[in-house]
Structures are given as structure tokens and as C-alpha cells.
Symmetry: C2
Subunit: 320 residues, 2 copies
């Protein structure tokens, strides 16, 4: 049982929606800025870049027009937040070594909705177990956005969100969140089956992220040869089979559509390759490891996923 800390838990009705952004990198900073544009009272947790962001906020060079995001509050530790927010937006990486439940715990009040805007699969379970009285919103960002230096974000393309209640359905909290995003020109679709959406996104991430890192290539280079495209398709088929084994049946044209979309994309470096090049940790477990665990549990053969997973771990373990 979670013991809530004693704080001001009541958000008076005419107060703006209070949102705490935990993980204020490119994704957290960008979507936080959009919620602020829509009128929410957004506070960000910044550690390494606290001084710069507290002083100057975040400059966002966006394809939608450049703007400046000055959070309502900038804090160094979650524990320094003086309210229980309406929403905690978690935009931290999905990494085994990050105990997100403990990180956000000081700010989770009885009415706080936890919004997990992260990659991968099976990233909600720990949070849902620990905060079983709180609503969890699971969300996916389809965006290309980079933090180029402290206090500076570049938004290159897309920006769409898909959100839904974990493990399924939706709620007034989901509706309110989607409304805020849509109000700030940030298309946000509500899904009653957000886990199916997670699997659908993995169809792309599971092959392209690891292959791009292991071969140091962008999407155009990967798509340039029929043999590699065939490999990508085979990996996507493995992901579909695992998704089906846990009841998430993806549309029959999902692979064709992913391939077609990637063919017309501008050359794109995956976020995992950018993380690798920047010597940052990679979301290997969230993107690959958790699929393989599920596959093994359900007797689904995934030899290609296992091959790229083991090689990716080997590469990361030994990188300079």
C-alpha cells in the first residue's frame, strides 16, 4: 500500500491543470511545452541542465514554428514539487536500471494520473503494481525530436500522440489530456487498446532500431537492398506472432504498410542509433528483451529477434 505524503492534494477547480514532467529530454520537453501552450501549469524536473532551464527555459525550433517554453516551475528533484499534480508525464527512457516508481513516488498523490510516454512493451507493469489506486495512461509519441544542447530542442518531423488507459479503455483523465494536446495543435488520438498500439509501434522499432545500431546505417541504407528488407519483414513477422500470442492481433497489412511508409521516409537515423552515437544507454530491454521474454513464455520462436538482441547487448557491453 502506498502512503501518500502530506501535501496540498486538492486542485481547486478553477486552477489550471497541474502537470509535472519527469524526464525533461527532447520528448518530455516538447510535449510539456505543448501542454503549457494549452494552458496547463507545467513544472519540469531538470537535473543536469537545471541552471540553464531554470534561467532561460527551453528554446524549441519546431517545424510548426519556433517558440520558447518557460515552464511554470523548474525543479531539481521530484520531491521538491509542492503539490500532488493532476498528471505526472514520465518521459524517461525505459531502462532496467531506472526505478521509475521510486523516482516519481514523492509526487504521486491520490488523484494523480501517471502518464507514461515511453517506448517499448511491458513498461507499465511495475508502476501499475506500485500505484494500483492511480490511473495509468500509456502513451506513444510518433515524433522526431532531438535535444541538441541544454535548453534547446529541435523538432524535425511528426508529433502525433496515441494515448489510452492502461491496460485498456479510456477515461475522463485521458479525454482531458487529449483535449489539452489537441488544443495546442498536437494531434492526440485516443485508443481503447493502447497495448495493441504499443505492439503496433514495436513492429517498426524492433527491426529498425537494432539493425541501425549494429550496422551503423540510416533507414534509407537499410531499405536499399531487397535482402535487408526481407530481413526486416521477417523480424516484423516474429513481432506479430508474439503480439498475437498475448491477444494483440495486428491488422494483416501492418507489415506492408510499415515497409511502404519507411520507403518514402527521408533518410532517418533511429533514436537508438543516436543514443548509441551519443554514448547514452539504449532501450534494449523495452524494445527487444521484453518481446523475447513473452515469446519464450508462450512458445513462439523468434530466432531473428534473439540474434539481434544478443548481438546488441554484446555491442553495448563492450563499447568504448
Amino acid at each position: 500500500m502506498v502512503k501518500y505524503m502530506v501535501k496540498d492534494t486538492v486542485n481547486i477547480t478553477n486552477n489550471p491543470v497541474r502537470i509535472l514532467v519527469v524526464g525533461c529530454g527532447a520528448v518530455g520537453g516538447f510535449y510539456g511545452s505543448r501542454l503549457a501552450k494549452a494552458g496547463a501549469e507545467v513544472t519540469t524536473v531538470n537535473r543536469s541542465d537545471y541552471d540553464i532551464v531554470a534561467k532561460n527555459g527551453i528554446k524549441i525550433d519546431s517545424i510548426d514554428g519556433n517558440y520558447h517554453f518557460k515552464p511554470h516551475g523548474v525543479i531539481q528533484e521530484v520531491a521538491n514539487y509542492k503539490y500532488f499534480p493532476d498528471y505526472i508525464l514520465v518521459a524517461l527512457k525505459s531502462l532496467p536500471q531506472l526505478d521509475i516508481a521510486s523516482i516519481i513516488a514523492p509526487a504521486v498523490g491520490p488523484n494523480t494520473t501517471i502518464f507514461l510516454l515511453q517506448n517499448g512493451i511491458d513498461i507499465e507493469k511495475n508502476i501499475a503494481v506500485k500505484f494500483f489506486n492511480n490511473e495509468i495512461i500509456s502513451g506513444l509519441a510518433f515524433i522526431c525530436v532531438n535535444r541538441t544542447k541544454p535548453g534547446k530542442i529541435i523538432h524535425l518531423c511528426h508529433g502525433k500522440l496515441v494515448v489510452g488507459t492502461y491496460p485498456k479503455g479510456n477515461s475522463s483523465a485521458v479525454l482531458k489530456l487529449a483535449e489539452l494536446f489537441n488544443k495546442s495543435n498536437t494531434p492526440c488520438r485516443i485508443s481503447d487498446s493502447i497495448i495493441t498500439e504499443r505492439w503496433r509501434k514495436l513492429i517498426w522499432n524492433a527491426p529498425f532500431n537494432p539493425i541501425s545500431v549494429l550496422t551503423q546505417t540510416d533507414t534509407q541504407q537499410i531499405m536499399a537492398q531487397p535482402g535487408t528488407v526481407a530481413l526486416v519483414r521477417s523480424i516484423m513477422e516474429e513481432v506479430c506472432a508474439v503480439a498475437a500470442s498475448v491477444g494483440h492481433i495486428l491488422p494483416s497489412d501492418v507489415i506492408d504498410k510499415n515497409i511502404a511508409d519507411t520507403e518514402i521516409m527521408r533518410p532517418y537515423k533511429t533514436s537508438m542509433l543516436l543514443d548509441y552515437e551519443g554514448n547514452r544507454p539504449l532501450e534494449v530491454e523495452a524494445i527487444l528483451g521484453n518481446i523475447i521474454k513473452t515469446a519464450n513464455k508462450n512458445g513462439v520462436l523468434v530466432p531473428r529477434l534473439e540474434t539481434i538482441y544478443e548481438m546488441l547487448k554484446l555491442l553495448v557491453r563492450n563499447r568504448a
Copy 2:
């Protein structure tokens, strides 16, 4: 039908055995030197390092003791050789872009035995078709040897050879060759089933060479985690299944033995990784592509081999 050129084809009985080494890198230079030690008249074809080798020969720093190899003759082109040799030792890489039959053609006489000392599988066929009246000896080198600069070879460990007539059996030419090597303290075993031996060597090369390149690791790093060892084993099983499909049944303990041998090896960079780091071409087809062709022809599933094959090609195609 091959038309032989008009040359002095008769090697008078009391003449030493005449050997032409085509591909005088680390392997060709080393084994050529051993044949010379045994009394053979060894001529080497040197292109980029002709001046240095013609003048000074090759210095060989060997674990068996250092020595100096001064070939009987050093030539720049195969066509410059003035005899038809008893043996042509081919120690060129197995690369699709290298037309070895055409390269050696000017020196192949009616009594010339062609000795292919190369890696991979299905590397003899083209030569056997073109020179169907000549004996082909197929050979495998188990050695760690590097050419560190023109005219300089370092022999780090092992050195054993396995040789046999292609496609199987042996002959007086094989016996004579093995005798020369053994005479110069270079253990040479004769196999009646050299293609089975090639498959047996591929058991190791097919996983370790590509994995080492894709993950930039040495054997010790690859062997450090159970998951990676399991991947290596699975790839070895795929190779065994393909070998079996073409009638080469490998011993049931071949995988355990390869794993055990690798575990006690000193950390070792595969030759493919050294080639990659040196920006030289890799033997991707001989080591992987030809296995996969055979697998596809015989309906053997090799998902892991296909995965590493496609990624390796992708990596090589886009390397800086």
C-alpha cells in the same frame, strides 16, 4: 577445354618441386616459406610489395623461431612465371570479385596441381570446372598469422594444415605436398573427405567471424555471456543442419568441442574483424552466403545465419 600455353612442361626428376604461390599475404607467404624450407623451389607472385620482397624477401617472426624467407623467384604477374609449376598454391581471399581461374590460368600446365588454401565453402567449383584435367587439392589452414607490413609476417599461433583431393579422396600429389609440409615442421594432415573438413571449420567461422565484426568484439568478449554463447551454439546448429543436407554429417560433439576450445583460447580477434578494421574486403560469401544458398536449395531453415549475413552485407556496403 583449356588450351595450355607452350612452356617447358617437363620437370626433370631430380629438379626440386616447383611451386608458384599466388596470393602472397600472410597465409601464402607463411606456407610458401615452409615449402621452401622443405627444399621446394618456391616462386611468389607479389604485386603491391614486389620491390621489397624481390630485394629482401620476407622476414617471418614465428613462434617456432624467427627466420628469413628468400623465394627462389619473385614475380609481379602470374604470366611472368617461366615454367608450369608442379603446384600452384592459391592463398588469395575467397571473394566473388576475384576470378581466380583467370588469375592462375597462365601458369596452369597439364601436370600442375592446383592447391586452394582458402576459407569458406564451395570455393573449388569454378576452378574444377575450368581446369577439369588438373588435380585440385583443397586445404584448410588453422593458424594465426598476420602480415604487418610489406616483407614482414608475424606467426602468432598454431599452423596446422588439413589437405585432401577435391572433391574427395587423396593422391600421390597430396601425399607429396603433405610430406613437404611435415618435413618443415608444419603439421599437415591428409583427409579423404576435405569438404567435410571445410564444413567442420565453418562451424566456428560462421558464427564468430560475423558476430565479431557486427559487435566489434574479440572471442573472449563473445564468450563472456551465456546468452551470446547460446546464440553461437544455435548458429553452429544451423551450419550442421546445412552440412548434413549435403551429406556431410559432423560428429555429434562438434559444437561442444568448438565451444570448449574457444573458452580456453586467448582473446582472439577473428581474421574477418582484422580485415574489417583494415578496411579490406571480407569473405562474406565464402563464409556465409554459400551456406545460405545451399540451405535454401535444400529447404533448411537458417534464420540466424540469414540475419547475420544480411546485416554484415549492410554494414560492409555502408562502411566509411
